[in-house]
Every structure is written in structure tokens, then in C-alpha cells.
């Protein structure tokens, strides 16, 4: 993909001054009001329903007013602001798809994706916690948990505390189902032994969704998902890992030492954990794609105005054709990434097959984010290299995109499998 950066796009943008991404939604919505169609699927991907538009506006304002002032401090201290977390719950950002019966907003998957994108534009580190909460934890509960578990925990997840998705281990990352944490049946409980690694949201989670194997001899068919409350004896949360980016998102190891969990806390069926996991991660991937396009937008929001204002040799940086071409190319690729992401979200919302498209969206967006943020720093020059300016944070935050929730190589494997199927 590295060769794509320098390939000049076949069409330059018509205007000579590149403004911020214009608001297509209002203009096109009014066009659609004139030629309205009942067939929702015929509308362009970047045209949103009224509730999606309202949600975007609210989330953007929230992000600008409440999150933005804290971004630098949270990054430097590697800590999430707890008041901010609370206000995100209050705003309804943590249970976007959850039914109002359980205290959520009852909005669509697309709305959750748009919300992740808007927050990522300001702070991808805050966004990742929100993405995991919405696309993995809440969906896990809604889709697979028993009614009793739902009534007990879903309202908490929607309004009070974070959940953490504990799958990866020291010796199993991409090879996720080679996990070694065991769950041994003991009367009315399961006893969990083992450890987990790289678990996001750990420091602030009220519950952990832990994948453990009830019978290692069955291989992945023994994997079961357990809902474990934070203060359960036998569960220890290790200290957060010091990372290159997404610093305020706590990433911790977890240790299970004869941790007893009642059998009523099994999510869904025993031995089906791997299935639930695959299903959720297929969707969670779209959330990461949304995060990555948000990162791109956020970096451009800071970079484009600067390179229009800064002048060298009598003209603005952006007026130099080589720079203008690079910018045009990156903007084109960002448009592609956004459309891939939105389309996979809509496919999923419509109940159509989306796994290949989701893998493509995540792969494309995360690779793009790493490169686009690097280009932004190049266009900015020296100032891009400074902490104060803010783009270097997007550069650091972007890097994990090609690694977590399925590395780029894994995504390529997935996409290739579909190519084999189709021939």
C-alpha cells in the first residue's frame, strides 16, 4: 500500500482552495427532499437520517467542548478523566444501540459508528473505549446473554460503568483460540485460572467478558464467555502498560487465580464462546475503521488550515503543486475509506453479508491512517513534530489500527478467503 501515496490522483479537486470537508448532508438532504424516495438503500452513503445527523451534531459538540480541553493532559498522564467518562455515560454515548428498556438510546449500528468517528476526530484514545463498550460489550450482552444477566448488567453498561473484552493472552494474539485460560466446573461455579494480556478499559471496567476454555481437549469448541465482576476474588488487574499511543486508554494484563464465577454468569452457551467472539469482532472491526477515519479527519482538521496560512517563497505551502497533489491523493483515499466503512456498517444494519467488506474497511482505513498522519507531519514541517501542535498524537494513536482487532495480515487472509470462495 505504500506505493499508493505517491500515485497522483487522476482528478484534481476543482477548487483551488481546499476548505474543510463541506457539509454534504444539508445540501443533499434538501435535494432528496425534492426527489424523495422510499427506498432508503438508494441514498448516497454520506447522507444521513435526521436522527443520525442530530446525533453527529451533538457528539461533535460534546467532543469539542468536553473532550478536547482534556486531550493533552490525558495523553501525558496516561489517564482517562473520570468526570469525562461519567459525562459520556450521561450523554448516552456508552449504550448507543442498547434498548431504552435497559437505559440505552436505542439507536442503530450506523449511529454508533458515526459517534465513534466523531469522537475519534478529537481523541481516538477516548473513542476506543467507547467503541469497545458499544460494539463488543453491549452487543455481547444484547445478543447472547440471558434475560437475567441482561437485566442485571445491561443498564449498568449503558449508564454507569465500562466493560472489558478479555480474549488475548500472552501467547495468543492473532491465534486467539489457542488461549490457555481454563474454566473448571465445580458444583454451581466455574473456577477460572490463567491470564489475559492487552485488555483495554481494564482500569475503569465494572465487568469483564472473559473467554476461557472449559475443556482444552476440545480445542476451540471448549471456549466459553464468562461475565466476571470487577471485585471478584481471584481476579487481579495488573498495572497498565505504557504505550506509544492511545495512552489514556488503560491496557492491562489480568490474572485469574482460582477465580470463582457462578454458572449463571456464562454468556450464552458453554463452548460457543468462539462463535460469539468471531461474530462480534467482525462488527467491532467496523468500529475500528470508523476510529481510523476519525483519526485522519482530526489530523487534517489541524493540518489543512496551517498549510494554507504558512507561506514560503511567497506562497502558501498548499499552493505548491507537489503538496497539493499529495493532499488530493490523501483526501481521495480518505473518501474511499469512509465509504468502505459506511457501506459495511449499512450492510450489517440491513442484515446483509458484510464480513469481507468489514475486513476491507478496517484494513484500508488503518493502513491509510498510519500513512496520512505521517504525511500531515511532513506537510506541516517542523511544527508537526511538536507535542503542542497536536498532530503527532494522531500519528502515534494511528499506529495501533493495523494491529488490534485483527492485524492487517489477518484481514488480508479473510479477504483472500472470499476471493477463493467466489472463483
Amino acid at each position: 500500500m505504500s506505493s499508493l501515496i505517491w500515485r497522483t490522483s487522476t482528478r484534481l479537486f476543482a477548487s483551488t482552495t481546499i476548505s474543510h470537508r463541506p457539509c454534504k448532508s444539508n445540501h443533499v438532504t434538501s435535494l432528496l427532499n425534492k426527489f424523495s424516495t422510499d427506498n432508503g438503500s438508494a441514498t448516497p452513503l454520506q447522507v444521513f437520517s435526521e436522527e443520525e445527523s442530530m446525533m453527529k451534531s451533538t457528539v461533535r459538540r460534546f467532543a469539542e467542548d468536553r473532550i478536547k480541553p482534556l486531550v493533552r493532559e490525558m495523553d501525558e498522564s496516561s489517564k482517562m478523566d473520570e468526570n469525562l467518562l461519567k459525562s459520556m455515560f450521561d450523554a448516552g454515548l456508552m449504550g448507543i444501540e442498547v434498548s431504552p428498556d435497559y437505559g440505552g438510546a436505542g439507536m442503530s449500528f450506523m449511529a454508533a459508528i458515526l459517534a465513534v468517528e466523531e469522537v475519534s476526530r478529537i481523541d481516538p484514545s477516548v473513542a476506543v473505549g467507547m467503541d469497545i463498550q458499544n460494539t463488543l460489550c453491549c452487543t455481547m450482552m444484547t445478543r447472547f446473554a440471558s434475560e437475567e444477566l441482561k437485566e442485571k448488567y445491561l443498564p449498568q453498561l449503558a449508564t454507569r460503568y465500562l466493560g472489558a473484552f478479555a480474549l488475548s493472552e500472552d501467547t495468543s494474539g492473532s491465534d486467539a483460540f489457542a488461549l490457555k485460560t481454563t474454566a473448571t466446573r465445580n458444583g454451581d461455579d466455574y473456577v477460572i485460572n490463567g491470564s489475559k494480556m492487552w485488555i483495554s478499559n481494564s482500569e475503569y471496567a465494572g465487568v469483564f467478558f472473559v473467554f476461557a476454555n472449559v475443556d482444552l481437549s476440545q480445542g476451540y469448541k471448549g471456549i466459553t464467555c464468562f461475565l466476571i465482576e470487577k471485585d471478584t476474588p481471584g481476579l487481579t488487574i495488573g498495572p497498565p502498560i505504557d504505550k506509544l499511543g492511545l495512552k489514556s486508554s488503560s491496557t492491562c494484563p489480568l490474572f485469574f487465580d482460582n477465580c470463582q464465577v457462578p454458572i449463571s454468569n456464562v454468556i450464552g452457551d458453554v463452548g460457543k464462546g468462539y462463535k460469539y467472539c468471531i461474530e462480534l469482532l467482525n462488527e467491532g472491526r467496523i468500529g475500528i475503521a470508523a476510529q481510523m477515519i476519525g483519526v485522519c479527519q482530526g489530523a487534517l482538521d489541524l493540518t489543512l488550515p496551517y498549510i494554507q496560512q504558512r507561506h514560503q517563497f511567497g506562497k502558501s505551502i498548499l499552493e505548491f503543486q507537489s503538496v497539493a497533489h499529495q493532499v488530493a491523493d490523501m483526501l481521495t483515499q480518505l473518501e474511499c475509506a469512509q465509504l468502505l466503512t459506511y457501506n459495511s456498517a449499512r450492510l450489517r444494519s440491513y442484515g446483509l453479508p458484510f464480513v469481507k467488506e468489514a475486513a476491507m474497511a478496517k484494513y484500508y482505513s488503518s493502513e491509510l491512517a498510519a500513512q496520512l498522519t505521517r504525511c500531515c507531519i511532513d506537510w506541516l514541517g517542523g511544527v508537526g513534530f511538536t507535542r503542542d501542535f497536536g498532530v503527532e498524537k494522531f500519528y502515534r494513536d494511528a499506529k495501533i489500527g493495523t494491529i488490534y482487532e485483527g492485524t492487517s495480515n489477518i484481514q488480508l487472509n479473510t479477504i483472500a478467503k472470499y476471493a477463493l470462495k467466489d472463483t
Partner: protein, 259 residues
């Protein structure tokens, strides 16, 4: 949803978002509005917030949001509903020529008719709209209704059939007491508006929005003003350094003409 209590009506104008860089149209007849981000006038948001707070203090009953303009005003009204209002009234003005010359006098007449119908105990408007900066609608409405007016309000407390109000005026702060019903216009420091939470945005979909035709209200919307030309403000010139106080005074007097 309406508790027994004072009805409050609030005006919500759809304006170009404050963060947008406004551009003059090439034909110089106005500014570019197509494809440009719009939102609720910030002072109207403050008015909406104040009404919601009064209801939370149990000093108000039904909250009605009103907007005058094309279809897109529905979005503005939904925001008010999402912030906690019960009902919305959309006064539909679909002809772009009529909408462009819609002025405070027209709007205050529309509101006066709605007030006659709805009989609110309090009307709260933003002090002015950020697009035209007229600062007239509240005052005109009070005049038409022959109601007391409290403009530039930075503090409002309702006590039975009167309200104690602090106004921000040039000389400082003025405290007055008005008997209700009255027209209040909201100033910046009255409150900080809340975010529409996502659950409330969804609940807003189910709240009623009535559509009204201005001709039904018997209001004449023919323009009183003709826009001749719209131009960009002159480019700001660079500052000048002076050598001494005498030169400063001379320039202030003879060039800047400010003393």
C-alpha cells in the same frame, strides 16, 4: 406530558452555524447558504435551556418550541424537543424569496398570533439572531401583545405571577420585576445549554410537531425591506506605529476620527 403549570413558548431560529466562514454570493444579493452547516441560534438554545430548567424546578408546564422557515427548520425544532420540550410548532415558509426578506416584524406578528392561540405565561426568545443581529423580535412582540418585556436577561427567577430579572445593560446590571405574562429575551450568561443526550434524541422523534401556514394566521409576509447589495467588510488594514503622543492624538482626531 404537560404538567399543570405555566405554558412557556420559545422561539428557535435556524441560522448559519457560528463556526462557519460566511461567504458572500457572487451576485452580491446575500450570503451562501446552500450546503452550509446550519444550527439553532445560540441565544435561542439558551432560551430553550432556561425553559427546561424552569420545568425541572416545577415552575412550568408545557414547553412549546416555535420556528419559522423551510422544511429544514424541523431539524432545529427536533433539537429543542431533544433538549426536553414537549411540542413543536413549525410555521412553514417554503418560498425562498419570502424567507429571505422575513424580518423581526413579520416574525413577531406570527408569534403574537400563536400566543393568542396557545396563551403561554412566558415567551422566551434569544436576544438576537447571529445572522442578522437585529435584536428586535422580542421587543416588537412585547409591543404587539402589550406585555412587559425583559431583554438581555442574565438571571431569571419566576415567583408566582411575577418574575425577578437581572438584565445586562451598558452601565452594568439592572434588576427589575415584571408581572407575567411577559416576553423575556435571553443573553449569553443566562445559562449553559445542555447537550441533547442520545436517548432524548430518539424520544424526540415521537413528540408532536404541528405545521402551520402563516396565511392561516392572517399574517402578511410581504417584504418591508429591499436588499440592494451585500458586500464583504473592507479588508483590515495593518496597524501603524507612531513616534510620540502628539502624533497619536493627531491621528486619532483627524484620521480615525474617534476623538
Amino acid at each position: 406530558m404537560a404538567a399543570a403549570g405555566m405554558k412557556i413558548m420559545v422561539g428557535c431560529k435556524r441560522v448559519i452555524d457560528y463556526a462557519v466562514k460566511v461567504r458572500v454570493r457572487p451576485d452580491k444579493t446575500g450570503v451562501v447558504t446552500e450546503g452550509v452547516k446550519h444550527s439553532m441560534n445560540p441565544f435561542d438554545e439558551i432560551a430553550v435551556e432556561e425553559a427546561v430548567r424552569l420545568r425541572e424546578k416545577k415552575l412550568a408546564g408545557e414547553l412549546i418550541a416555535v420556528s419559522c422557515g423551510p422544511k429544514e427548520c424541523g431539524e432545529t425544532l427536533r433539537t429543542a424537543l431533544a433538549m426536553g420540550f414537549d411540542r413543536a410548532i413549525h410555521v412553514e415558509i417554503n418560498d425562498p424569496k419570502v424567507y429571505e426578506t422575513l424580518s423581526p416584524l413579520h416574525v413577531s406578528k406570527i408569534f403574537a398570533k400563536l400566543v393568542e392561540k396557545e396563551k403561554p405565561g412566558l415567551v422566551i426568545l434569544g436576544k438576537q439572531a447571529i445572522d442578522d443581529d437585529c435584536n428586535q423580535t422580542g421587543q416588537m412582540l412585547a409591543g404587539l401583545l402589550r406585555w412587559p418585556q425583559a431583554t438581555f436577561t442574565s438571571k431569571l427567577s419566576v415567583n408566582g405571577d411575577s418574575a425577578d430579572i437581572t438584565r445586562e445593560v451598558d452601565g452594568g446590571l439592572e434588576t427589575i420585576k415584571v408581572s407575567l405574562p411577559a416576553v423575556v429575551t435571553a443573553d449569553l450568561r443566562l445559562n449553559e445549554p445542555r447537550y441533547a443526550t442520545l436517548p432524548n434524541i430518539m424520544k424526540a422523534k415521537k413528540k408532536p410537531m404541528d405545521k402551520v401556514n402563516p396565511t392561516e394566521l392572517g399574517v402578511d409576509l410581504s417584504p418591508r425591506v429591499e436588499i440592494l447589495k451585500v458586500e464583504e467588510p473592507p479588508v483590515r488594514e495593518a496597524g501603524v506605529k507612531v513616534d510620540n503622543v502628539d502624533e497619536l492624538i493627531n491621528r486619532l482626531k483627524n484620521e480615525a476620527c474617534v476623538i
